[in-house]
């Protein structure tokens, strides 16, 4: 993937990079879309919990299950992309480009911070399952407050993942544009 002054080498690189880039776009799109839908599911949980009733808590539980499953699928797809394409094609591209921080800071932070997200969503599911009755009857406001704080953190983390993903993609695009 190295860049030389030889035009032929650029041609060969472009030929080999092309299919990888197409596959990368698909995987990134899927990874981001599932993550964003998972994030939307937790926004749904947050809204349902603002004024809980038995019906709203039931819906919040469904939304939390959907969000958690989507985070796990997004984790697997993102991981597959990271291991098969990112490491061999995108990472060297970003590191050799004008915005190397896209990998060295944004990606390094994202790949580790992301691991917190499915774990936190599992805890939110545990609370919703155990405290369904308490939440429905609004018996203990501190339980509702605790869950709202946790879900808010999940939402903020989800938004942060999207932002970091945008920064990584921008760095890759900047590096590609410099090669044209």
């Amino acid at each position: 993937m190295g860049c030389t002054t030889s035009k032929n080498k650029y041609f060969i690189n472009a030929k080999y990079i092309q299919p990888d880039i197409k596959m990368a776009s698909f995987l990134i799109g899927l990874h981001a879309a599932l993550g964003e839908i998972g994030l939307a599911a937790f926004i749904w949980v947050f809204v349902e919990l603002l004024k809980p009733s038995s019906e709203r808590v039931r819906r919040a539980k469904i939304a939390a299950v959907i969000g958690t499953i989507l985070f796990f699928i997004s984790w697997i797809i993102g991981g597959y992309y990271y291991l098969t394409i990112y490491g061999s094609v995108v990472k060297p591209l970003i590191k050799g480009g004008s915005q190397p921080w896209g990998h060295l800071v944004a990606m390094e932070a994202k790949e580790h911070i992301f691991l917190f997200l499915p774990i936190l969503s599992l805890v939110s599911l545990a609370i919703l399952k155990k405290e369904e009755k308490t939440l429905s009857q609004n018996k203990n406001p501190s339980t509702k407050k605790a869950l709202l704080i946790l879900v808010a953190l999940i939402i903020i983390l989800g938004v942060a993942m999207g932002l970091l993903g945008y920064l990584i993609s921008s760095s890759a695009r900047a590096a590609l544009e410099a090669k044209i």
């Binding site: 580790h112 691991l115 917190f116 805890v123 405290e131 501190s142 605790a146 953190l153």
Partner: protein, 98 residues
Amino acid sequence: MKNVKAATTAAISSIILTLALTLSTELSEKFKNFITALTWHHWVSKSVIALASFFIVYLFARKQKDDGNILQQIKILVWITVIAIFVIILFFLFEYFK
């Protein structure tokens, strides 16, 4: 998962372990090679360890009494998560600028 205290304890353990693994693999090449050798990639190993530690700690902690002080437990979990996030970001920023 019926024990919220155990789930919170498991999450805290998993997050602290992930933070420790993240920093130590960056600081020690030897340790990074060891973690990589557990699967085929250091990130896969960390992912598996993060998830496995959550469920293992939960299994051990679920027998303890769930005291019902969920707000206090969640506050601790949230603060530890926020601190871990800042430590990770600052660490990689420091590594980049040093």
